[in-house]
Symmetry: C2
Subunit: 190 residues, 2 copies
């Protein structure tokens, strides 16, 4: 990927995380990324296309981070999942409990706006869910997880519950909802 496109997407992740999609203007993006308008439209068909590519980029960076935990064979599958979310609590502590998850925020703000948005967001969530489900299946195989619920449902419930915990953290301005999530997670992954 070109260095310029990369810079525009980085600025996009930062601005969308802080202000949401609708509150960000094209001029602000161009100014912060230090690129002319023509350059923007060389890489992005429209503001919607830009928004979708920002969501994709944020998600793929996050999945890289997720897999550092989920592929760590030094830990049991269950402890890999718990370890990831504990790592995320530190991340949000450093951010003073602001911003939350760009994909979750985008789902709230943009899912009813266009089908392009809702489908792009649903696709990214599915990628996260598949990674978590794979790890749950490893835990079931090893006998560590004995739940009779299906692995798909467990992965969906965990992923969505985390998004809700982040949404609550934003107004509480402390990580207590995230710690409650960890306790709930341990009840579910039995």
């Amino acid at each position: 990927m070109s260095e310029i496109k990369d810079r525009i997407l980085s600025v996009g992740i930062d601005l969308l995380s802080k202000k949401g999609y609708n509150n960000v203007g094209l001029n602000e993006i161009l100014r912060l990324a230090n690129v002319p308008k023509g350059s923007f439209y060389h890489y992005f068909k429209s503001k919607e296309d830009f928004g979708i590519q920002v969501i994709n980029r944020y998600s793929s960076l996050g999945i890289c981070f997720l897999n550092q935990y989920l592929e760590n064979e030094a830990l049991s599958p269950k402890n890999r999942i718990i370890g990831f979310y504990k790592g995320m609590i530190e991340h949000y502590q450093q951010k003073d409990c602001t911003e939350g998850c760009l994909i979750g925020n985008a789902s709230n703000e943009l899912s009813d706006l266009t089908e392009n948005f809702s489908q792009a967001i649903a696709n990214e969530f599915q990628l996260w869910q598949d990674q978590i489900e794979k790890c749950i299946l490893a835990g079931i195989k090893s006998g560590e997880i004995t739940s009779t619920s299906e692995s798909r449902m467990l992965a969906s419930f965990i992923l969505n519950s985390w998004e809700g915990a982040l949404l609550r953290m934003k107004c509480e301005k402390n990580v207590s909802p995230l710690k409650d999530f960890i306790e709930g997670l341990m009840m579910v992954l039995r």
Copy 2:
């Protein structure tokens, strides 16, 4: 409360649910509520004050609906909680899985904007959590719920996980995340 203020708040709930706070202009509110600007500023100090009162009104209507379930002594405490969320699934099916929860959406959109917003939203969530916790305590007392986790944590996890399920529903455009929530809820309320 005056009929006029009531009408402005009803329009506010509808507009904020559909478009979010930042995307709604004062003129649109005035036009749909059919009131002059002076009337609006008679009841609301500012747009922020209006937003907070819309959130409060939405929340108190929702808590009325919640308590219809939680105070139904014909059912066990656990089945009252499950019954409420099953009722909500029907509600969102009728809305074609759009909008989600106005309080959750507001938390995502407005918590980082001003402390007035984050505190008002946190207060409303706390009211919901307290009602759910009261019902969980009744279930613990009757011996129906035997979890060793504290009731506050359980109520927080349930409330937040529902918010996350709604956020996922919005992009999926089906109630499958809400059904996964019900299954998770039954795992937690053991």
